[in-house]
Symmetry: D2
């Protein structure tokens, strides 16, 4: 509701009367709405006051398996949730529109040895559709196509940089996602956009997502509500996750 | 040079032959260029391996006064550089195009008492032209127009959120800036864009900058090289800065 | 080839050296490439010198049926080609990318009496995919949904105006079409756009086409070469066509 | 008012409920608003029923000199208004926002002999600011920079084609102009766009206007109401004009 008010207020700003006097500073001042107050985290990578905690290390209650909505069969160990082989993708029970997402992940030690495709392979699926790839891209050592490396939107774009750490070390993704909009006839009005930091380094800058990702074939958009869950892939590789939180944008 | 090669490679990707077989995964694989390897910082807010350090607490050698290019007259104290009243704006000796910038700042304890305009007032000027406002906006307490609060592009937009800490506490800005481009006749081809995190919280999301900021009057673009320094404002308020680094994008 | 040279030349214009002196008029002069010389028609609605004549009233040799590529079974009468009921859609043998298309059409006298859907119903399909609707919309009398009236991109947009003439009178469409572009992975890089004049009156202004039109369901793009034929619909209504020409853009 | 209703209706279309059933044709039908009925002209280049006639050959009452708003000193002869040397620019008394404009013009017989700058030189100034160049560009014979030829937005773009007729013959421009919009702080929200047909041939296709044109220096936008007059340049050349009409878009 607040958001709608905010948008209306901003819209109103562009209607301006044209008897404006731009020779005084007051003309270009806008006093409302005040921005929402958010208390930032006191620890690095921590959740701000308005975040929804998706995983804090204590339980996997917010997650279910994508294929049958069953309770998580992933491993809960040392404050991390681990993609147990053969259990399948997990997704949040809640859905989100546009958001800021923080997630930390750690590659298995055998990632490089196993190699593509199952070595150190996972992914964060935004709305369950758009994959920010997780892969053992440390030092560009494990061969894979560049638009499938960590930090890519899978098979859509090569990341700007590769700031991955070694297996065994915790990486972070900070993901800023703008949801797509659809028209009355179901066609795409505006596509989704994503900005990604990998360990604090920009790897995607307002990238226009080209549609639901595809391993084989052409990415394209299919009509939906514009909201969806966050999903984490299980791809035969025991990738660990921790400290996952999200904020509505 | 590398960047140009990268752009040509990406451009080539869109020319594709139309005898493509989208029924095999190989068709949508792109193997080059590999992303640049960057080693992330080992400390929160630290500089990645490819960053230029603009201020590390030891000296102000990279900075000069905007008005006369003289050596910095700001205070160097406890690893911070402090905007000494009456000394004027400082700017980097180096120029930058598109970049990722990290800067930390701390408001004077009297910011609220002094209030607008000189209480806790400063700003980060991208290319010396586009101000990301610094102001004591803690808890929305000090009255100022909303499009002049911390995290705004000054007099252009209200920030999405206010995640400022109290005077005496260190805040961070992570700023992702896309430089404007100009045409052969000097007109704006593409405007500048900026994304800003305040203490890790998104406050601007790919905002289209409207031109050089103005206290009085209308922001507009004026032709230049598309490169410029980072400047820090001195506005009668002893705002402290530390840990400033920048990476080319 | 010429086109590529032209685009390169324009691209070069945006790279300009920055030692430019904007105080002399010469700086903003561009001397090449000279525009292509085209001799306009000497009769209203006639074909310019660089046009491909698709139908001049003498034969239907440039056309074939869409379903089986057979020779036209439409009627050739009084210099017009008429959509004979039950024969099906006709399309050009040639394919085009971006273009300017002129086509004239005349509604059967029973259009209003028959009404929706078969009364005075046809359409111009750009690339065989994107329909500029032809319908007896004279005076808004025959009931149909507004985004299916003459001048609409069928089921995508309501035309800005309705300048249709009565059945028995010749209407013209002047259609300016920008072809879509696709990426290496088959996704849409830029959508198609269309501008349409109906009897000289603007009815669509640089409308962003939302994909292949659909009677039932959601319009979307499917990867193709970005070139295609012009097709004319046979929809149980003996709509007449004459004076059809096209120019590459 | 109608226009605002129309825009609201279109806006509403994008809000759609998400329980939509795209398996029935009804879902993608939109029944309102009906397009405005316009009766097209019965003569080539004639004014549609909703046009404002700016010049019909009988008088110059709708025009005044730009410099002092005095009555027209141009010549009225044989149904044409002619740019009498030394009298200066004429502009309409009325102002317009976005529009479709038709104007016909004829170059003096000595255009080529006089050559640049005063031979056959004039221009149509949209909102009095953005010049669609008029010049004797017949057959590319008179030397001038290409971005200053007939059909250019002067010193901004080379026209796509040159379809000019010889001096002594009547040319037409059909101009489709989208007015710029400005924000509350006076900055440009959306630039102006223009599409131009010269003698029925497309010479500009939704070109993004770069600002008020400049003979010397850089085109840029300056805040105004987004409405303005149509002006015709007197540039030492007795260019003739006839049949000028305009429709609001």
């Amino acid at each position: 509701m607040k958001k709608i008010f905010y948008q209306l207020a901003l819209a109103a700003l562009s209607l301006g009367s044209f008897a404006q006097n731009f020779k005084v500073p007051k003309t270009t001042e806008v006093w409302e709405p005040l921005p929402k107050i958010v208390t930032p985290a006191t620890t690095p990578g921590g959740a701000p006051s308005d975040a929804t905690i998706l995983f804090d290390g204590s339980n996997m209650n917010g997650w279910q398996h994508t294929k049958d909505k069953s309770a998580s069969k992933w491993l809960l160990k040392d404050g991390a949730m681990i993609a147990k082989k053969g259990t399948g993708e997990l997704m949040t029970k809640q859905e989100f529109g546009s958001f800021q997402l923080h997630v930390e992940f750690n590659m298995p030690l055998d990632s490089k040895k196993v190699g593509y495709p199952d070595g150190g392979n996972s992914g964060v699926f935004l709305h369950g559709k758009y994959e920010i790839q997780i892969f053992d891209s440390y030092n560009n050592e494990v061969p894979i196509y560049a638009n499938g490396m960590a930090g890519s939107v899978y098979k859509q774009v090569i990341p700007i940089a590769n700031a991955m750490l070694k297996p065994g070390e915790w990486n972070s993704y900070d993901i800023f996602f703008t949801a797509p909009k659809f028209r009355y006839n179901g066609s795409v009005e505006t596509p989704a956009y994503v900005t990604v930091l990998m360990n604090g380094v920009m790897v995607l800058n307002h990238f226009e997502i080209q549609g639901t990702i595809q391993y084989i074939g052409i990415p394209s958009y299919e009509y939906y509500s514009g909201k969806g869950p966050i999903a984490l892939q299980e791809h035969g590789s025991e990738v660990a996750f921790r400290n996952i939180w999200i904020r509505d944008l």
